[in-house]
Structures are given as C-alpha cells and as structure tokens.
C-alpha cells in the first residue's frame, strides 16, 4: 500500500514536472523544471531496480544537461537573441493537444496488450553471465553481449566532437566567463577539493562496474562533471584547434574498442567475440579507454569548442 502511495506521488510528480517543462511561459522556468524532472527520473530508476541507470541519470539528466541548458540560456540572453518564439495558434495548439492525448491513449493501449517476448533475451543473458568476464549483468550486456551498440555509441560521440570542431568558437558568451565566479576564493577551495575527489569517485565507479552498479558511462560522466567545474572556475578554456593530447583522448576509446573488436576475430572467430579467459581483462581495458573519451568529449561539448587549454590562475 505504502509503495503504491510512493509510486503514485512519483508518477504525479513526473507528469506535473513534464507538463510544466513544456507549458511554462518562461524559458528559464522550463529549464529548471526539466532539471528537477531529471532528479525525479533518477528516483524512478531506483524504484524500478535500475541502479546503473539511476547513477547515470543523476549525473547526466540532472547534472550535465542542466549545466548545458543553463549555460546555453545564459549565452542566448547575452546575445539578446530575438528568437522566433511564435507559438502555435490556440486552435492549432488545441488540436495538437488532442492528437497527443490520442497518441498517449494508443501507446497505453499497446502497452496493456503488449505481446510476450518471443525470445527470452533476459534468460539468455543471465545464463551466459559467467562467460562474460564480469559479474554485473548490465556491464556484460554493454561491453560483451551487445558490444556493437556501445562501439557505435562511441562512434556517435566522436561524430558529435567532429561537429563541434566544425562549428565551435573560440570566444564565447557562456556563463563561465563571468569574472565574479573566477575570483571567488571559496570556489577555488571547493574545486581543489572536489576535482581530485571526483577523479577518485570516477575511477571507483569504473572499477566497481565489473560486479556492482557502475561502469565506464557513469565514471565518464562524473569525470565530465569535474571538467564542467574546472571550466566554470576558469581553469579550462576553449581552444579552436585541439592539440595532440586532446585528439588522443577523444579517439582513444573508439580506437582501443575497434582494435580489440577486430583483433579478437582470429581467436574467437567473430567481431567482438572475446576469448573466454581474456574477457574480463579486455573489458577493463576497453572501459578505461571509453571512460577517458566519454569524459573528454562531454567536457568539450560543455566548453563548446573542439580543443581546450589550461586557463590562468
């Protein structure tokens, strides 16, 4: 009973926050509502026994996306951008609302009568868990059973970085350039403490990911949060052209993952088929390089340029 009460409140909170995010008259309010929605999502994952996703959501959905949106908001305000914010006319909006409601009803109907899965992937994944080299089933799926998903994902991140290189800019009007932030002694002290601690937590999450909730994604996001902090306190600055170290860091995940994926073909016979005894070690190597690339690319996406350099102070 009490669990239903909690779930019910959670659901009401999610729907209300989603609705407010969409209909708030001010952009700033919408952004804040969306950040809170991210926190509620993290709670929701915890309720649905998805601790791996909850960890990533708390860092990404509430933290990183929030920082990105607020930073972009600040930049738009600084540019005094006259956005094309003509919304749909009331009649159009009403019909869109009706159509969206019909869609929700249809989806609810489909979910109610969703067919039983033909192939029980869950049972298959759990049955082969011992062969995967790791104890956490989510890590086993990400890095072993469905490794190609993750390989392509790193490819997408790499593409995002290439896009950044194409359109990135040196100077920016982002929130990070406010002098009043950079010369705060308290912030300096906090960054000195949090940056090493963040790195420690990131590496811990990576290590724990083999058998407990955690892994390269969560670790990479925590490290990216450290990068955001360093940017906000002026210790990292944008650079149009990435130097060799940045190029290496951005590509190392994709390169190591691809090299291992192809390299095991002579031994295992198939792409990404790790030889049994080596699976655990190979996964740790891949995850470490993935963590570096994910962290660096997400940090660069926040900074808004393809490269970075050390800032003064």
């Amino acid at each position: 009973m009490i669990e239903w009460l909690f779930d019910g409140l959670l659901a009401i909170g999610l729907l209300w926050l989603g609705w407010r995010t969409v209909v708030s008259a001010e952009l700033f309010k919408a952004i804040v509502m969306f950040i809170v929605l991210g926190l509620f999502m993290a709670l929701c994952w915890a309720r649905l026994a998805a601790p791996d996703v909850a960890l990533a959501e708390a860092a990404i959905g509430a933290g990183l996306i929030g920082a990105l949106l607020l930073d972009a908001y600040r930049a738009l305000v600084a540019e005094r951008w006259q956005a094309d914010d003509r919304n749909a006319k009331p009649l159009v909006a009403a019909s869109l609302a009706i159509l969206s409601s019909v869609l929700i009803g249809g989806l609810a109907w489909a979910l109610l009568f969703s067919p039983e899965p033909v192939v029980d992937l869950n049972a298959q994944a759990r049955a082969r868990l011992a062969d995967s080299g790791v104890g956490n089933p989510v890590t086993a799926v990400l890095l072993n059973f469905r490794g190609y998903d993750t390989l392509l994902e790193v490819g997408v991140l790499f593409l995002a970085w290439l896009g950044l290189w194409t359109v990135g800019e040196q100077e920016s009007n982002s929130a990070a350039t406010g002098a009043w932030v950079e010369d705060s002694d308290l912030l300096t002290a906090l960054v000195r403490l949090l940056a090493p601690l963040g790195v420690l937590i990131g590496v811990y999450l990576l290590w724990a990911g083999a058998n407990e909730p955690g892994g390269a994604f969560q670790a990479g996001t925590v490290l990216a949060a450290v990068g955001v902090l360093l940017r906000l306190s002026g210790r990292l600055r944008p650079e149009l052209s990435p130097d060799l170290w940045v190029r290496f860091g951005v590509t190392v995940g994709l390169l190591v993952f691809s090299a291992i994926a192809v390299g095991v073909i002579p031994v295992g016979g198939n792409l990404l088929e790790y030889p049994g005894d080596w699976a655990g070690l190979l996964i740790v190597v891949i995850e470490t390089s993935l963590m570096v690339s994910i962290a660096l690319i997400l940090t660069l996406l926040f900074i808004g340029s393809a490269g970075l350099r050390r800032g003064g102070s």
Partner: protein, 100 residues
Amino acid sequence: MNQPLFFAWVGAALFGIGLYGLLVHGHLMRKIVALNVMGNGVFLVFIALARRDPLVTDPIPHAMVLTGLVISVSATAFALVLLKRLARQAQAQESSEHDS
C-alpha cells in the same frame, strides 16, 4: 495493474507531453528541452518493461537506456552549440544592418 505497466504508462504520457511541447513551441531551445522530455518518456517505458518479470530484472533494456542517455546528452549538447552559433550570427547580422 502492476508497477511496470503503471510506470510504462507514465512514460507514454511523458512522451506525449514532450511531443506536444515540441510541436507547439516556436523557440528552438524549448524544442530541444521538449525533445529531452520525450526521450525521458521512452527511457521510462524501457526500464519499466525490464521489470515485467518481477523476480529477475532484464539487463538488456538497462544497457540500452545507458547508451541512450549518453547519446541524448551529446545530441542535446551539440544542438545547443548550434543554437548558440545561430544566435551569435543573428546578432552579428543585426548589428551590421544597423551600421549600414
């Protein structure tokens, strides 16, 4: 009525709300935020359905949502970079029109 179905319905509703926001707003940043609401709805359906068997949680949707989260944050970040660039160019154009 069980917990997975309940949360899957909430996910479907979030998807619909996000879609409405995406279509009804003209402001590009509002569209980006609404798109993220839609994404959250999709993730919620995935994770809820992973609990269909209450005894063993299905790790495959979890892994897919983790991948999806990182993809969605990088896509959002790139969209925001494009938006900032657009705003800067619009501003530059406007000021050059003022000068002439």
